[in-house]
Symmetry: C2
Subunit: 336 residues, 2 copies
Amino acid sequence: MSNIREVARRSGVSVATVSRTLKDPKVVSPQTRARVLKAVDEVGYRPNLLARNFSSGKSFAVMVLVPNIANPFFSRVIRGIEKAAQDQGYSVLLGDTKGQPANEQFYAGMALTNQADGLIQLDSSYPFADKDATLAASVPMVNACERIAEDDRYPVVELDNRGAAQAIAQHLMELGHSRIGVITGPVASPIVRDRLAGFRQALEKRGLQLDSERVTEGEFTMPSGQRGAEALLSAAHAPTAIFCMNDEMAIGAIHQAKKMGLTVPGDVSIAGFDNIEFSQFTDPPLTTIDQPAEALGRYAMETLRLMIDAKPLKSSRTILPFNLVLRESTGPLQDV
Amino acid sequence: MSNIREVARRSGVSVATVSRTLKDPKVVSPQTRARVLKAVDEVGYRPNLLARNFSSGKSFAVMVLVPNIANPFFSRVIRGIEKAAQDQGYSVLLGDTKGQPANEQFYAGMALTNQADGLIQLDSSYPFADKDATLAASVPMVNACERIAEDDRYPVVELDNRGAAQAIAQHLMELGHSRIGVITGPVASPIVRDRLAGFRQALEKRGLQLDSERVTEGEFTMPSGQRGAEALLSAAHAPTAIFCMNDEMAIGAIHQAKKMGLTVPGDVSIAGFDNIEFSQFTDPPLTTIDQPAEALGRYAMETLRLMIDAKPLKSSRTILPFNLVLRESTGPLQDV
DNA sequence: CTGAAAGCGCTAACAA
DNA sequence: TTGTTAGCGCTTTCAG
């Protein structure tokens, strides 16, 4: 592995000049530049970025904490993060936490040892260990898709979750439904509460109540959606429509409804959230909320970059718009 | 940010002793150790791993090149990589290449600037730019799930693809099918050729031919599976069973079959490959090949680690077993 | 426009 | 067991 000294020797200049040629070519004379570049070429020199980063005191890497990398929605967010990171000369370290504090603390801790310049947290928990809280205070972090519960120190990039849930509720009511069930995500999550609040509000605006017996908690997974649907649909006065707070749970719910001999949307309408690619291929295709996942990731990275560079943020909260996607999993209330 | 010097000063020892206390506590006396640890605690010292890595000449990071992070199969492989990496004190850099050479070259190039100590390539292409080939020769790399076409310089961790395709073929033949179609992945991929060869071999062993008109190329995506099925099923003498080389294409194929008014598996049996979680929730649930995805990732990381440490490999090829998962998307040939 | 030299924080060889 | 010191490869300040 060749180093800057070798290039310097070979081109008869100092290491400083080689460094300058590579970082800021226009400050060296054309002749020198040519000589240096020739030498670079001859020895196949690549700067050791480990040294450069060390020297600059930055890693030029960001750590992304993702609760579940197998969720295709997060994949899209990560894509957006990566694209923006690449544009800005940053690399992306992946931390699949499975929602477990131990993993979060491990990966978040990497920012305390200069392995990452900042964090993007896609979950709703404060990722640092309590004992690290003091040190962590100076670590740039942004929350994307989620919000850290009861902690407004960090900027947030999120969807208009409340509005999206309202849109779903309105859509279902317009179809004539009034007995509506909800399969939520973990209720500890602020966005779950946002969605629930928006949904409830929309119902109440039309004089309907969201019966608490028709609200069941899921885990954003297909099996939990299946279990939730089973609970809701086997009750007396079962709902004629179910709003699932992500597509995976909706897929589980459709599966369960069919298993119970019900038709979708004939007997029960089912709506999801996220618009993952699979939602187009379910039977029936899923009515859902499209989230601008890549944009969420991109804004998160751009915001984080500003924080890393200690530049002022335009706003500590970026709210992106949703889009209601109507497909065939929701339909008019059937006469009984 | 405190540094090792500050801790040294505070505890009245040299920086070397602080360093030793942290890396190899048993070589310092208990009293000294206690003093040092106390100081570490007081100033909230965390070693700057950027400096440590630089000093050691290694980044302790590996770059994972993944063609499509939205594919849940790869998510599981990445999980396995990450787990193993964490165990070994490595971090994981993510490079979502979308199968594009420019992206591969960009991310692979990070190993040439010491940002990664090695590469795990999940696609079938040689990821470096031609001009980097010489330098790249010394970069540790392992191929997982795929093989780099016509390049046996790198160790491989893969499935018994040939055997798996044979198992699918046998299963379909046992159900009475003889007009069998295949939706492949990109034919440039060696594993696609393996699967095709295995499949063909199994048919021929029973005196059946794999009609080339019943083989169509997909891209491992749901839309391409849908297109493939449309082509196969609208032909005269349409196949009564279709083997799709991944689950996503199978999901697209089921979608298309239903769209054409066909029942699955009544009119056409459809089998997938990978056993992604969604394959349990399709209607009907998918017969498929279970790949030990996490294990593939883990072995890849462990192999890469050996290469990074310049230790001998037990074998340049690790082949993991598959498991045929029978569900309801395949069924007996119906009388016509 | 270019060079000399200090220094980033840590490790490790060598001495004591 | 501990301290001194020389780097690791690069950037950057300060002179020239």
